[in-house]
């Protein structure tokens, strides 16, 4: 009996394309170009680490529920862990953004990497705003009543009601994190596909070059 032909079925074709686009040594490399040995390249993975903490602490909050996070010491701790993970997330993500902006990180067919990063930042801001609305305390009530005027003035309030805690909670813990998570995965896969952007004027071998491709 001969071996089944590869690439005939959609699963085989998809596998062949994935392995050819992202061979294991490129997907999970154990070495990086010399120019990556700088602290400015650390903030992307720091953002990812903070995102993991946010999702983990948010999952625990969802398991415990609002009565638990308002009335118990451990609940308060996990609530604070969630908040400060978000503070750290935005802190390091904006430094990551500054670093990538000033090195024009969209060079070398990396536009999709840049765009998914921008979208992840914008969606993260939206996710954080809905987080303010679902604290279930006086602070969230105040923020919701202030936000409703702004949202209503755009016309979006007809179907996106910031005073509706149930709707905001589901946006905060399901819809927006799902989109941010998918964007983060696509962003990271694009980094692995195209590689870490070299500094302006430096070739992929880490040496200075006059090749125009190193500048655009």
């Amino acid at each position: 009996m001969s071996a089944p032909p590869t690439g005939r079925s959609w699963t085989g074709a998809t596998r062949d394309r994935l392995v050819s686009a992202l061979p294991p040594d490129q997907l999970l490399p154990d070495t990086q170009p010399a120019y990556v040995a700088s602290w400015i390249y650390v903030f992307g993975v720091a953002t990812l680490a903070a995102l993991v903490m946010i999702i983990a602490s948010g999952t625990v909050l969802a398991i415990g529920g609002l009565h638990w996070w308002h009335t118990t010491a451990v609940g308060h701790f996990v609530n604070s862990l969630h908040l400060w993970s978000v503070e750290l997330f935005f802190f390091v993500m904006v430094i990551h953004l500054w670093g990538k902006f000033w090195m024009a990180a969209w060079r070398g067919r990396r536009l999709l990497t840049w765009v998914t990063g921008v979208l992840a930042l914008l969606l993260s801001i939206g996710t954080a705003f809905t987080g303010y609305l679902v604290q279930t305390n006086f602070d969230s009530q105040w923020i919701a009543t202030q936000a409703k005027d702004g949202i209503n003035s755009t016309g979006v309030g007809a179907f996106w009601n910031v005073l509706n805690v149930g709707q905001m909670l589901l946006w905060h813990i399901v819809l927006l994190p799902l989109i941010v998570g998918v964007l983060a995965v696509v962003h990271i896969v694009m980094v692995r596909l195209r590689g870490v952007v070299p500094p302006i004027g430096i070739g992929t071998d880490g040496e200075p070059t006059s090749d125009p491709k190193a500048f655009r």
Partner: protein, 59 residues
């Protein structure tokens, strides 16, 4: 802003008071936000100039 101590060796800052705001023309910003922005700028500059540990030039 009030400094609170709940037990020896543990210091916390009470955040229940009125926030302090900086006014600079039409720009208004809470002192806390200004401190965070200055911290971010400091970390950004430090990331550019502080040598990365364990880096070998032959790699």
């Amino acid at each position: 802003m009030e400094l609170l101590t709940s037990s020896p060796g543990i210091l916390a800052v009470g955040l229940n008071g009125t926030g302090y705001y900086i006014h600079w023309g039409f720009i208004q910003m809470s002192l806390a936000n200004l401190i965070v922005i200055l911290l971010m700028l400091t970390v950004f500059v430090a990331a550019l100039v502080v040598p990365f540990p364990g880096h070998r030039d032959d790699r």
